[in-house]
Amino acid sequence: MTEAQVEPEIMRISWGPQHPMSGQTRILIDVDGEVVHRLIADLGFTHRGIEKILENRTFLQGIIPIERMSMVDTANMGLGYVLAVEEALGIEPPERANWIRSMICEICRINSHLYAFGLQAESTGYFPAVFLWTTVDREVLLDLMERLTGARWSYNFIIPGGVMNDLPEGFQDKVKEAVNYLRGRFEQYWEAMVENATFEMRCKGVGVLKREEAIRLGATGPVLRGSGVDMDVRKDEPYAAYGDLEFKVVTEAEGDAMARLKVRYHEIEESLNIIEQVAGDIPGGPVRVKVPLFPRPKPGEAMSRVETARGELGVHIFTDGGMNPYRVKINSPTLRNMYVFERMAELGRILVADVPVILYSIDPWYLDADR
């Protein structure tokens, strides 16, 4: 289709922080009629300066701001920081703590993927059905976490040296119950989203990201795996108990919005299997190693990599022997995916109505991009 070479009269729309589609950020779109020429993501609306705050918090206090970086999968964020602190202190959590950590991280992953389902459905106007089903299913998981850790969202349950306390008795079969209920619910998601003709019309072939583009632009998480690259930190560099849990890395080849949705869907199935394995045969033993309240690691640096629901989080801690870390560098997954979103306008032809679908197929969480 030959595009007329006339200078298109560009109108710049700004979907500001107050907009049903954009979360806590501003998306500037250069539009000519319905065709999108340029996308600009104006981040920084939720910049709380976490890296500066962590410099005057002790190692144990630092867990609270880090867990608020991405409230939907708090455990993964907290685990990234805790693994780096443990590497700096040179301590090893006991076996049972590792298994509990994996279970909590998988529960948070499902929690976050439900958020992605809901918003991708809402971006196509599928508001009533799927978006609010996710809140129902998330309540099941939140009740589980409330029973284990006492809090619904930010648990502070994973601490350097292991886990705060052991599983309450009867927790394992509560987990099994929840897993069976969720399995039944997720078939409905599959029918409601992937097999719905209108939804497929809106999502198939939209925002295609080929394999080389995904690697070159630094995509991560389901966005990368949706384009056929099987990079998953849980397999490349097994942490917590992922070394001895069997699960497979899910990839889809097309790289469009529907493929990213399918990747998230199959990842939830994998997470449910992992949770079932942990609930089934978790080893006994202590839950925590004794760690002083104000640890002082020797000077040096430690970097940890964790596979959060949105991608690979890297926490790089520089220590100078004091009670507080000298500098904490956080490599946030959403910042990388937001750059991929900005480049989408150049990769293919996008209409105004596709922008929300692409944005929510990338499942951004602006708080962890702005830190």
């Binding site: 922080p17 609306f45 709380r48 809140t135 129902v136 309540e139």
Partner: protein
């Protein structure tokens, strides 16, 4: 912008309606405003999943008539959900000025109320530094029941406010 607490002219003084009819009309206006608070679809910080759970199926805030609405013109309540960074603070001020007159602000969570876990950060603004706040809801993140209790407090405030005419129609 401190709130004048003196008794201003009541709503219907302007229309010179005879005194006895005041009570009935004001009761109706208070009842109408109480039951249809339309907050803006605007979440500023990390309590946003909790706000979604409250508008979700288990703790349904639409029971109270609270329906999140898209555009700022039709809304009459900003729910500041979560931490406000300095850049977001200006946007909250713009929104507050664009809204129609009977407007209310609910500050959800510890961060807008008093800074919460980020109290000593260089890029944090508290809610009452930028807009007059009506209801503060503590908690980080506050439980859904707390948010709904905050909304009920707002409804109580609306009912009392129409009587003393603090915020004219």
């Amino acid at each position: 912008m401190e709130m004048e607490t003196t008794v201003k002219e009541r709503i219907f003084d302007r229309y010179h309606i005879p005194k006895p009819i005041y009570g009935v009309l004001e009761y109706i206006v208070a009842w109408a405003r109480k039951f249809s608070i339309w907050p803006i679809h605007f979440v500023t910080g990390c309590c946003s999943p909790e706000f979604m759970q409250v508008s979700g199926s288990r703790f349904d805030m639409e029971r109270l008539g609270v329906l999140p609405f898209a555009s700022v013109r039709q809304c009459d309540c900003i729910m500041i959900v979560g931490v406000i960074s300095r850049k977001m603070g200006e946007r909250v001020k713009y929104l507050y000025e664009q809204m129609g007159e009977p407007k209310y602000v609910v500050s959800v969570g510890a961060c807008p109320t008093g800074g919460g876990p980020f109290h000593d950060s260089y890029s944090i603004v508290r809610a009452d530094e930028i807009v007059p706040v009506d209801v503060y809801i503590p908690g980080c993140p506050p439980r859904p029941e707390a948010i709904i209790q905050g909304l009920m407090l707002l409804q109580e405030k609306i009912k009392r406010e129409v009587k003393i005419g603090a915020r004219g129609g």
